[in-house]
Amino acid sequence: MAIATAPTAPVGKLARTWETAPGLYGVLATVDHKTIGKRYIVTALVFFLAGGIEAAFMRTQLIHSNVHLLDAEEYNQIFTMHGVTMLFLFASPILSGFSNYLWPLMIGARDMAFPRVNALSYWTFLLSGVFIYTSFLIGQAPDGGWFAYVPMTGRTYSPGLNIDFYALGLIFITISTTVGAVNFVVTFFRMRAPGMSLNRVPIIMWGTLSASVAIIFALPALSAACVMLYFDRRFGMHFFDAAEGGHPLLWQHLFWMFGHPWVYIIVLPAIGLASDMIPTFSRRPLAGYTFVALSTVTTAILGFGVWVHHMFATGLPMLATTFFSAASMMIAIPSGVSIFAWIATIWHGRPVFRTPFLFLIGFIVLFVIGGVSGVMTAAVPFDWQLTDNYFVVAHLHYVLIGINVFPVFAALYYWLPKMTGRMLSERYGRWVFWLMFIGANLAFFPMHISGMLGMPRRIYTYQAGLGWDTVNLITSIGAYVFALGVLLFLVDFFRSLSVGPEAGDNPWDAPTLEWSVSSPPPPYNFAVIPTVRSRHPLWEGRLDEEYHTLIGSGPVLDRGRETFGTSALDSDPFEILQMPEDSLWPLILAAMMTVTFYGLLFGVWWLAILGLVLVILSLAGWCWPKLVREDEMDLLPEEG
């Protein structure tokens, strides 16, 4: 490689090149992955609180038999929105937020592959969430449950706008999720620092990669289903209408063909986060790295082959249910591999009991509980007693809180210091952990029992004398304890912003590249692009590795916003990529999409068409290249 050398990196020039523009323009036009990542996290946490408030209402209603705090319609809207919010507006976006923030810092890059698409994925997430929540303003929030089974959600039985908000809102959010997934896949294969071969990437990369590939192939099933639902409702089509050749089970198949991969999409990146944190608190590299990476990929693939286990009670032939039952049991094995990899890491390591680690221990325990209750429901005849009652509600909350929320809170305690430069409080952190751990178990363990006592799901109240009062009381108390933990976290977070101790570059003495830059990182991430030689660059000295990662000496890439494009397997640099400046097009495009969706929602067709035209024009504006004079391009002669 032809080289011109200099003694130090021009950090001032790099900062000016990569900084977001000042003022309102910068706020709206930034394409910086760190800003977008933080926005994702904050917005997702706001939705988490909204979903939590909805849950608080639900648990207060169910604390005892015949409580009528909410009437049936209100309760049905609240439980539906609780599911929609947590699953679509929190669980996936929060992981996108962490991945967005961390990936370039972990792989030694200056940004994601498509920074403007990144901004688009955030704005469409925000606007789709707002779109769905405006339904509350007119008292017509979705009320068909988060999986909205037809024919109840058809226009005969759901004549209001509730389900239109649902169908269109979900189509809107799939746009965000899909473009985000494309960004992650391309970044994974093209943007890793020189030397970061596939076997050296942090597990979060494998987790988000697997989830992103799954998104690309699974989300279209939801779009197709929601389009059909909207068409049935709005234009009198008959996809799900048994009387006219349709079938209600078509909805269930399409929905769960999306829905089951979705539940892996919302846990695999979190498993990746956990796999990257556990080594730091065990003071040794992850045991069985290859096993864990392969388990992640395997789970994502197998996740496409189990959807019928949500339909075991629908009267399908035994051959079909048997196959899916077997697949649903076997999918537990990759999870078991990962669990034992973590346990092995701790076993042969030296545990350091800081707050993130407490959440990670809780995560392992809750994962096992959720996993075994899942195996119980995978047994078809037993599932006929367990599905559609509180047992499966217990299962799904254990897996979601255990494998998504707990790693997320560990990640918040672990990486917020990198983002803000301030540590959170260990003392508060312990309280937050114990309140959340005890609260979660108090809330959800008894649900296994209320389900086994015959309590069905999605009931706005229940009669006295069925023996369900005591377990529900315990559950509700647990929910309040859990909520208290979350509130305490918020207090700690805001406190830490002003009085938290300074974090420094590497407060946890962790091994990966993001800890080699300042907290918070400079806008250009790395002044000098690292050349990677192992999975744990910052620990190489102490592990007596033969080759050391180059940090601080190497290529600078400072002629504008530049980063390396590298080969897929071994990460050899083969091109220099020119990254885009701040741009308003992502926000404009997202706003025009919103106009279109409102037009479709209210059936104001001219507005929908106008929105569509504006979307097309925005895309054209975005894609029209910024032209550079030939003599201003720094090209070699043969590049023409």
Binding site: M1, A2, I3, A4, T5, A6, P7, A9, A113, V117, T178, A181, V182, V185, V186, R190, I216, A218, P220, A221, S223, A224, A225, V227, M228, F231, F235, M237, H238, F239, E244, G245, G246, H247, L249, L250, H253, A527, V528, G552, S553, P555, V556, L557, D558, G565, P573, F574, E575, I576, L577, Q578, C623, W624, P625, M633, D634, L635, E639, G640
Partner: protein
């Protein structure tokens, strides 16, 4: 003292098949293809659950317009390929003409499909078959329309002389998308128009 370097002999944003933009288009195509897979799954699922004939009343969709239309679309893929091969050799005229002919053929496809729609004895609201027929072909038509809009966009750039023999990624991506749309049509055509005739 750290050594920092400015590598000058790596190409800058090359536009070959390894470019990030190329991979992005392929992934977009993968997700759109999946969408059609799920639509066709719905078609075959409802066909398998149908109690009577499928299509109902036994009327197979006619080949009179759809078969020539299929050929038109395949030819348009050929002209798009021809256009891209041209710019790879630096032939601007061939690129522009090829794109224009492709555009015209694509518009012809949509017009003939519109004619077929107006002649149909059923509507999307007649029954599930009608809903599927119009939704599947309709979404395909929407993808054709999107491809034509992309065609107009790169044609504008082509006429403005943006593309060279080594720098024409936008054109390659549009061509790839166009071929994808063609492949989707072949699968849709086989599924909706041919499989009912296979007894």
């Amino acid at each position: 003292m750290a050594m920092v370097a400015r590598p000058y002999d790596l190409p800058i944003s090359p536009q070959d098949r390894r470019a990030p933009g190329r991979m992005g288009m392929m992934l977009l195509i993968a997700t759109e293809a999946s969408f059609f897979v799920y639509l066709l799954f719905s078609y075959f699922y409802l066909a398998s659950m149908a109690r009577g004939a499928w299509p109902p009343d036994g009327n197979n969709p006619a080949l009179r317009l759809s078969l020539p239309n299929t050929i038109i679309l395949i030819v348009s893929s050929g002209t798009m390929w021809w256009a891209e091969a041209g710019i790879r050799k630096g032939q601007q005229a061939r690129l522009r003409i090829g794109l224009l002919v492709t555009l015209i053929l694509g518009m012809l496809f949509l017009a003939i499909q519109g004619l077929e729609y107006s002649n149909q004895s059923f509507t999307p609201a007649t029954d599930a078959y009608g809903s599927l027929f119009f939704t599947i072909t309709g979404f395909h038509g929407a993808h054709v329309a999107a491809g034509l809009l992309m065609n107009i966009f790169v044609q504008a750039r082509a006429w403005a002389g943006h593309f060279t023999a080594t720098r024409h990624l936008a054109l390659s991506n549009v061509a790839l998308y166009w071929h994808f749309v063609d492949v989707v049509w072949i699968v849709v055509f086989l599924s909706l128009y041919i499989t009912p005739r296979l007894g």
